[in-house]
Symmetry: C2
Subunit: 159 residues, 2 copies
């Protein structure tokens, strides 16, 4: 079954190159960017400025093809693709939780941006701890490695 989506806006960030980027929002603390939502969707942004964080779903437009076994940025071993956040996926949907600074007209000013400049936006959802926060988690192969995400930067392996 094939599913067709459409770009509803564009994510703006200081990152123009796939190399040397933060690999998660937690590695991009304070990095400022914005979301230019297409004017036809402006009405849907109402009430969004009351939320500290939003979940961005976007298309990894620079990632083509995929492998089901990958060596992630945070590991030296090969892992099953779906146990990683690698951008090259059967459906290359990216997910980032970013801080909302201000909503003005059809632009959302955001912080903690780990997304490539020019990335096509697919959806915005409010981040709600009651829905989205989990505690006491096992994190498999990332155990002891996830904290390295703060300093780790991307290389060209998924370009």
């Amino acid at each position: 079954m094939s599913i067709e989506y459409h770009q509803i806006g564009t994510i703006r960030s200081p990152f123009k190159d796939l190399e040397g980027m933060p690999i998660q929002p937690t590695g991009a603390r304070g990095v400022k960017g914005s979301i230019e939502v297409d004017p036809e969707f402006k009405e849907g942004l109402k009430d969004l400025d009351g939320f500290s964080y939003i979940i961005l779903l976007y298309h990894f437009h620079r990632s083509e093809g995929y492998s089901l076994s990958v060596k992630p940025f945070l590991d030296d071993e090969t892992r099953g693709l779906f146990s990683t956040r690698a951008p090259k996926r059967p459906n290359s949907i990216g997910l980032s939780i970013v801080r909302v600074i201000e909503v003005r007209e059809n632009t959302i000013y955001i912080q903690d941006v780990d997304v490539l400049d020019g990335t096509p936006l697919l959806d915005i959802k409010p981040y709600v701890p009651e829905f989205d926060k989990r505690d006491d988690c096992e994190i498999g192969w990332l155990d002891g490695r996830s904290k390295n995400v703060v300093d780790k930067r991307s290389d060209k392996r998924f370009a």
Copy 2:
């Protein structure tokens, strides 16, 4: 810009009807289901069983059309669509964080399922608190209402 994705599996749950469903995984504690991943993607499931939770991205296949202003299940007022989790969206992508019970061959047995039976799966990502957890959040219009999600059930408004 148009983006084409493909179904990579099917989500199985006890929910056969859009009415009377939990509206978030937190309202579906203990509800069991499974994900039948297409056999061609089985290799990508390796290492997934080490994680307590996974993020499911899926297509709201029963939702057609959308309105940019909606009255959410948890409120009596009209809100901007992107400040809600309503299923009818410009790109109807659903997001649920569910508990992993077991991975066997190409089937993932899960718990806390708030998804309609037969829903097309788009992506699976590991849930990693270091990447995905945020504390001290303002939650706009959901303030004081988000806890009602445990008991709230859907009606036909987004059918």
